[in-house]
Amino acid sequence: MLTQIFSNKNSEQGNSGTRENLFKMQTLIVTALLGLMSIAFFHYNQMNIQNHIKLLFAPFLSVVPLLFILTILKDLKKGFKEEAYTRQDIVKYSMLALIIAVVFIGVTHLLNQLDALEILIAAVIAILSGVLFVKSRVRGLLGMSLITGIAEGIIVFMIFLF
């Protein structure tokens, strides 16, 4: 996977295989960023656990619906195309990524205002399960632009506003 991402030769799997691997890499980066963000907020905002039983149930809020949706839903997109994307597609998906990035700057700003750890954990796990849903069911340039938007929103908030 890493060889395919960093080499400039066409692999035997073709373009769609390389795109698939780039998509997986992007998902890993987003997961790492979410972890980093929650650690940073926990460190700086002096969060404390207000209700221990809520901490136990926080992950279930989003994991259970995710599993349910994953079992009943088929793939929304059938993977990446083999040939090149058109200019119109590129502009459209870049705009989509930009909009999602702006939205996620706002979401991260809201998360920064929290002071209870259990709400932060619930929110982060909700975003993570959304990412997982996109990764497994919306495989395609649409999913790639969504995940890029999430990553960029978090990073821009971390650089300029945090």
Partner: protein, 153 residues
């Protein structure tokens, strides 16, 4: 990945960028007051990587990765002009940032990290997808402009 297939300029740019990262972190180390600065630095290094992956995913085409321009005189002249104008543009931009912020550029390494890692990432993406000489000229010009601004002015 076979090592001999990589362009030597590409390798050099990579090594240089990592040296700049190392230098900036070492330079910044004394000024780090809290781990908030560490997080900001880390985020500014990481900033262009998702954009780079996204761009590569979109631009990737089925053709062989040959240069898109032929090696004749007018194309080379155009690439050199692009390089020169991009380096001058970068110096002007750096001067503008300094005037706007009212302090030296070395005082806020986050901006330097951002510019450096974005440029290097764009270079990598161009190298891996289309190998367009014009884009390569512009990016090399921007890197040269930043380096010479820091070095001479």
């Amino acid at each position: 990945m076979k090592l001999q297939k990589i362009n030597i300029v590409f390798l050099l740019i990579g090594v240089l960028s990592f040296m700049v990262f190392g230098f900036l972190v070492a330079h910044q180390y004394a000024q780090l007051k809290s781990s908030r600065d560490v997080i900001k630095t880390f985020a500014s290094i990481l900033f262009p990587i998702p954009i780079g992956l996204f761009a590569r995913c979109m631009i990737l085409n089925g053709k062989n990765h040959q240069g898109t321009m032929s090696m004749n005189g007018s194309d080379i002249r155009r690439a050199v002009w692009l390089l020169l104008s991009a380096s001058i543009l970068m110096m002007l931009t750096a001067a503008c940032i300094e005037i706007l912020r009212g302090e030296k550029l070395e005082e806020f390494p986050v901006v330097l990290h951002l510019i450096n890692s974005s440029l290097v990432n764009a270079y990598f993406v161009n190298e891996m997808t289309s190998k367009n000489f014009k884009v390569m000229g512009i990016l090399s010009g921007l890197i040269i402009g930043l380096a010479s601004y820091i070095f001479f002015l």
